[in-house]
C-alpha cells in the first residue's frame, strides 16, 4: 500500500496541548514520525533577562500550568545557588509539602486527561474532583488557584495557615482511599488493558540516553529519581521511597507500566505529606508572620558578574534544570541569562520515534502515557 504523511494536531485530543505530530503511515502502521513544537513559544528566557530575581518567579509558574509550584521551586533553587541564600528548615518543609501536593494535582490532571484518550470519559470528572481538593490547599498558600508565585529566594512568601495541616491530613487520607478506587476501576478494566498493554515499549537505557527522565524511566525498572540522586530540600528526612515498576517485557516499559508507576507515585506523595506534616519544625499549627526568620531569610538581590547558579529538580514529568548567570553591576538586580531545561521538550521527540511500528490507533495511548505538557515544552 502507498505510504502517506498525515498530520495530527495542532488541534487534536492526542496532543494535550498545541503541537503537531506528523505521521507517515503504511495502511494502519506508523512507519515514521516527526514532532513539530513551538506553537506557544513565549520567549520566557528572554523576558526573564529583563526581570529581577523575584519578578521571574511568576513567569516560571506559568511555564507549566498544571505544575506551577514545582517549576517555581526549581527556579528558586537555581536563584538561591546563584545568590548564595540560606533557607530555613521550616521553609524547606513547607516547600516540600507544596511541591508534593502539586505533584498529586498534576498526576490527577494527567490521569483525568489520559482516561478520555483511552475511552474512559468519566475519569476526567472524577480526577478533576479530587484535584480540586489539592488546588484548594495550594490556594490557601499562594492565594491563587493555579499560579501561586509562592516560593521566594531564601524561603516562602507566607507560612501555612492555621488549620491547613488538618485539612491536608483529611484530604490526603481521603485521597489514599480514592487511589484504591481508581485502581479497582482501571487495573483490570478490559479496555484499559487492551489499549495499554504491549504498546509503547521503552527501555531504561534508551530513555536516559535520549534525556527522558522522571516517572517514565522509573516505569522501566530503575528507581532513578533526582530527589535522591541529586539531593535537595528535606527529602532525606521524610518517609518515602521512589515509585518504581517492573517492566513487563525485555523491550522495556509499556503504557500500562507508566500508568502504574504514576499511581504508585501518588501513594508515595501521600506518605511523604503525612510524614512531613508531623516533622515540620515549629509545629504544623503555628503561623509565623510573613518575613519571620522561621520561613524566610534575607538574601542578596544582586549577583556578581561571572557567577552561575544551577538546579536539578524532580518535576512531575521528569528532571527540570535551571541555569542562571549573574550579570554584575551593569545588569542591576537582573540575571544575565536564564536557561531552562524542560523534560518534555526532550521527551516529545523521543516519544514520537517510539511510535514507529505501532498502529495509528495506539498513538493517543503512547503519547498520553508519557504525560506531555506543552506549556513547559515551548516556554
Amino acid at each position: 500500500m502507498a505510504e502517506m504523511w498525515i498530520t495530527m494536531g495542532p488541534q487534536h485530543p492526542m496532543t494535550h496541548g498545541l503541537w503537531t505530530l506528523r505521521v507517515k503511515v503504511d495502511g494502519e502502521t506508523v512507519t515514521d514520525t516527526e514532532a513539530e513544537l513551538g506553537y506557544i513559544h513565549r520567549g520566557v528566557e528572554k523576558i526573564c533577562e529583563a526581570r529581577d530575581f523575584t519578578q521571574i518567579t511568576p513567569y516560571c509558574d506559568r511555564l507549566c500550568y498544571v505544575s506551577a509550584m514545582t517549576w517555581a521551586h526549581s527556579y528558586i533553587m537555581a536563584a538561591e545557588d546563584l545568590l548564595e541564600a540560606e533557607v530555613p528548615e521550616r521553609a524547606e518543609y513547607i516547600r516540600l509539602m507544596a511541591a508534593e501536593v502539586q505533584r498529586l494535582a498534576s498526576h490527577l490532571m494527567w490521569l483525568g486527561a489520559f482516561g478520555p484518550d483511552i475511552g474512559n470519559l468519566t475519569l476526567m470528572t472524577w480526577c478533576l474532583r479530587d484535584r480540586e481538593m489539592f488546588l484548594d490547599l495550594l490556594q490557601e498558600l499562594g492565594g491563587s488557584r493555579m499560579h501561586y508565585n509562592y516560593p521566594r529566594v531564601g524561603g516562602v512568601k507566607r507560612d501555612i495557615p492555621i488549620g491547613w495541616a488538618n485539612r491536608l491530613k483529611a484530604k490526603v487520607r481521603l485521597f489514599e482511599n480514592r487511589i484504591n478506587e481508581y485502581e479497582m476501576l482501571l487495573d483490570e478494566s478490559t479496555i484499559w488493558l487492551v489499549r495499554l498493554q504491549g504498546v509503547g515499549y521503552a527501555t531504561a537505557e534508551d530513555q536516559i540516553d535520549a534525556g527522558v527522565t522522571g516517572p517514565n524511566i522509573r516505569a522501566a525498572g530503575v528507581n532513578a529519581d533526582a530527589r535522591w540522586t541529586n539531593p535537595y530540600s528535606v527529602y532525606d528526612e521524610v518517609d518515602w521511597e521512589p515509585a518504581v515498576e517492573k517492566p513487563t517485557s525485555i523491550k522495556g516499559a509499556d503504557c500500562y507500566d507508566r500508568y502504574r508507576v504514576r499511581m504508585e507515585e501518588m501513594r508515595q506523595s501521600c506518605r511523604m505529606l503525612l510524614d512531613a506534616i508531623e516533622k515540620i519544625p515549629g509545629g504544623a499549627n503555628t503561623h509565623y508572620q510573613p518575613g519571620d526568620e522561621m520561613i524566610i531569610t534575607k538574601a542578596p538581590t544582586r549577583a556578581p558578574e561571572g557567577s552561575t547558579g544551577f538546579s536539578t529538580y524532580e518535576c512531575t514529568r521528569g528532571v527540570s534544570n535551571f541555569y542562571l548567570q549573574g550579570g554584575g553591576d551593569s545588569r542591576g538586580k537582573n540575571p544575565y541569562r536564564v536557561s531552562i531545561r524542560s523534560p518534555m521538550f526532550i521527551t516529545i521527540p523521543y516519544v514520537a520515534k517510539t511510535m514507529i511500528g505501532y498502529k495509528v490507533a495506539d498513538i493517543p495511548a503512547i503519547m498520553g502515557s508519557f504525560d506531555p505538557c506543552i506549556g513547559e515544552t515551548d516556554r
Partner: protein, 220 residues
C-alpha cells in the same frame, strides 16, 4: 513511619566528584583542559565537576565523559552571547550532564538502588562543561548529537534561540521559532531588545522609571 527516604551522602558525592575530575585532568590536563571539583552554594551544597575546555578539545572530552566517566544523561545545552566579552569570549556554551546508575533490567524485575550503599561508578555525579568561543558572527562548536541522543534537540534549540552553530549536527532546523523566521534571526542574541508596545527601553528599564513623555523638551 519507620524508614527514611534514600539519599546520596555527602561523602559519596565528594569522593565520586573528585575521582571523576581527576580522571579528566589526568587525561587532558596537559592539553589545557581544566577539571575541578566545585560545589553548589545553596541547599545541600553538593559537589559537582566543572570542566573548561576549548571547542577543538570538546569532542575528545565528551567521549572521555561518556566512555570513561559513565555520563549517560545530557541534561541541557545553554548558549550565551557576550557582545562586550572581548575577542576571546564572545560566546559561551554550557553543557550540563549527569551520571546516573541506570541500566536495563530483565522483564518482571527492577533495580532498587539504596543511595547510601552505591559505590564507584554507580554514584551519581553532575558535570558542568564551559566552552568559550571567540567573538564573531559565526560561533561554532562540534556537535555531540551522535554521543547522546538527548543532545539532539538541545542543540537544535540552542542554535534556534542563540545562533550557535553545531558542526556536524544532522537535520538542524528551527524548533521553537517559526520555520519561516529570517535567516540569522536568533532572539536570545543581545542586539535584540524586548519591546513592550512602543517602549524599546523595557529591556534595560523593566519598571519604566526612566521613561520620558513623548513631547519631552518641546514647548507646550
Amino acid at each position: 513511619m519507620t524508614e527514611m527516604g534514600t539519599t546520596v551522602t555527602k561523602e559519596q558525592n565528594s569522593s565520586a566528584a573528585k575521582i571523576a575530575a581527576e580522571s579528566v585532568s589526568s587525561r587532558f590536563g596537559e592539553a589545557g583542559v581544566v577539571a575541578e571539583v566545585a560545589s553548589h552554594s545553596a541547599g545541600k551544597k553538593y559537589d559537582f565537576v566543572r570542566i573548561r575546555c576549548s571547542g577543538t578539545q570538546w569532542r575528545a572530552v565528551a567521549k572521555h565523559l561518556k566512555y570513561e566517566c559513565g555520563v549517560n544523561h545530557c541534561a541541557m545545552v545553554s548558549g550565551t552571547h557576550y557582545p562586550e566579552g572581548g575577542s576571546e569570549k564572545g560566546w559561551e556554551v554550557a553543557y550540563h550532564m549527569n551520571r546516573w546508575p541506570i541500566h536495563n533490567v530483565e522483564a518482571h524485575t527492577m533495580t532498587v538502588h539504596k543511595g547510601e550503599e552505591l559505590k564507584g561508578d554507580d554514584i551519581p555525579v553532575e558535570f558542568e562543561i564551559f566552552i568559550d568561543l571567540p567573538a564573531g558572527d559565526a560561533p561554532s562548536v562540534p556537535s555531540i548529537q551522535d554521543l547522546w541522543v538527548g543532545a539532539d534537540w538541545n542543540e537544535k534549540e540552542t542554535w534556534d534561540l542563540v545562533g550557535i552553530d553545531f558542526e556536524g549536527h544532522e537535520n538542524m532546523h528551527r524548533v521553537l521559532n517559526p520555520h519561516d523566521s529570517p535567516v540569522g534571526f536568533h532572539p536570545l542574541q543581545r542586539q535584540h531588545k524586548i519591546r513592550y508596545h512602543d517602549f524599546n527601553e523595557m529591556y534595560d528599564d523593566p519598571q519604566g522609571f526612566g521613561r520620558k513623555p513623548v513631547d519631552e523638551g518641546r514647548v507646550k
